[in-house]
Homo-oligomer: 337 residues x 2
Amino acid sequence: MEETRQWRLASRPVGEPSRDDFELVTVDRPEPGPGEVLVKTLYQSVDPYMRGRMRDAESYAEPWDVGDPMQAGIVGQVVESNHDEFEAGDVVTGTLLWAEHAVADGDELRPVDPDRGPVSTALGVLGMPGVTAYFGMLDVADPTPGDTVVVSAAAGAVGSVAGQLARLNGARVVGTAGSDAKVEWLTDELGFDAAVNYETEDLSAAMAEACPDGIDGYFDNVGGPITDAVWPLLNVRSRVAVCGQISLYNATEVPTGPRKLGKLVESRARVEGFLVSDYDGRWGEALDRLSTFVREDEIRYRETAVEGFENAPDAFLGLFEGENVGKQLVQVAEYES
Amino acid sequence: MEETRQWRLASRPVGEPSRDDFELVTVDRPEPGPGEVLVKTLYQSVDPYMRGRMRDAESYAEPWDVGDPMQAGIVGQVVESNHDEFEAGDVVTGTLLWAEHAVADGDELRPVDPDRGPVSTALGVLGMPGVTAYFGMLDVADPTPGDTVVVSAAAGAVGSVAGQLARLNGARVVGTAGSDAKVEWLTDELGFDAAVNYETEDLSAAMAEACPDGIDGYFDNVGGPITDAVWPLLNVRSRVAVCGQISLYNATEVPTGPRKLGKLVESRARVEGFLVSDYDGRWGEALDRLSTFVREDEIRYRETAVEGFENAPDAFLGLFEGENVGKQLVQVAEYES
């Protein structure tokens, strides 16, 4: 019987996760049952929200059990199909496993057209991160021409798309990022009006300088001190879309910070969390728009790929160090057309 | 020339205000110019938001200048009128001064019908606090049957009306208050399903017990530890209406507390500040509904009146000690029909 490899959760991290929390195991390659498809992984996604699934606490995503394989967004190629819509060689995407091969219900997979661009984009700008940016920015932060919109983690997979969407809606866009190279990418390539390096700049001063007319929309992936710097600048009737809070995910105690609700009375601001899963029925709309924007060079993207399945945990851990520019991927195998 | 008395801001308080921050002065009674009305104060309102106007900081309400008279909601009787709509003896309400007599533009006054109930209600259940509760609860917190709604400072002028409106909308209503007498009033008289004494109970445990199905709506007048206890219980798609944050108004440094934005992602909760002044065009709608509810005994109210104009600062300072049940007023003169 053929074999394959999987990453399993070896232990629940306390605070910062480490490589020891992951275990690489070799198992029998699974066989697809009726309606199922065997998929060979080409690219595996790692995402900040996965940190939450390592906890033993209920949240919007079910916690992983210690000893079990972990889930991930995958772009892969069909090896064997018992589903009418797919045949061997097709490129598909879906939520599978941190694994070189996995079996999925064919109904849970979406086809990826390799002629429309790099197949890896189905995990980034034309996948969950892009769709997250799309609905979070357009439905929740809701920028209009002349608005100032701030995006935290703006050089990440979600933030880079969110900021460009705000720009396309006529807003002045300010991003935060953790290196000068990222700041340059945002302003020189993606059309951000300004960007703040949160590692080297005084956040409050830099934010005030970058947003002389205050802030009308804030798309927050980070939380913590960046959000503290944004808060005093919120304008009347501003909107805060809370997408993620990566600065808090590794905390072992509930972090504290300046109390924020008083400012909302004065500004009548609206702060709203959202999950891309609430928009399941509207992915088509988002992907149509996003792929048009990418084709027309209105939205640009980058991917940071770690090569080799054995390095998947490093790719994940790197997210918390801000090592990725754009979408962080693990390249597991080459696409064979 | 006849005289009258005014309270002026003597100094800007740092932290908790004291009586020394107020100065009682005797001045010439003003005379109404064209279109103006001289009003004799019957009741003066004191409200938590006034603490903000004592600061030298721009906010939604303009700061008071040291040495100047302060503004307040007033119910008074017309002494002399140069305005077509009013004549001597009429009862009126509007924003005038902390003063025994003041002059107002007649266009800025609203008539009060003394046959419809105690005229003082124009400063409470049928005035700014009632209208604040009305729009904050119905427009922002938006309770529906079966929801659990929490109201902080539930025995106050705004909270008591807000909670009863939620009850009338079919919600299970839980209040917080600072004494057993207030707790009893909420549950025995106002129809709250439960109430928590924040002075004597363990807030988190009591809140969890009072809200076994979580919290769908939160009308917040207080902030701080009460809000901390509410937060972990917020249900998916819950709404937080931020009306005030009295626990923070006397702070000399930005208070800190547990960071709150992460919970919003998981719960997709919406947190929104509001100001009653944004509903200026819709007071009629609110007052019609509220006065009907009061007449039909569906909404009950209490007032706490301090007697004597010279005691106005004490009435104001008492707000921060939780001394009032329902609307805190200063009774300045008797209504003469």
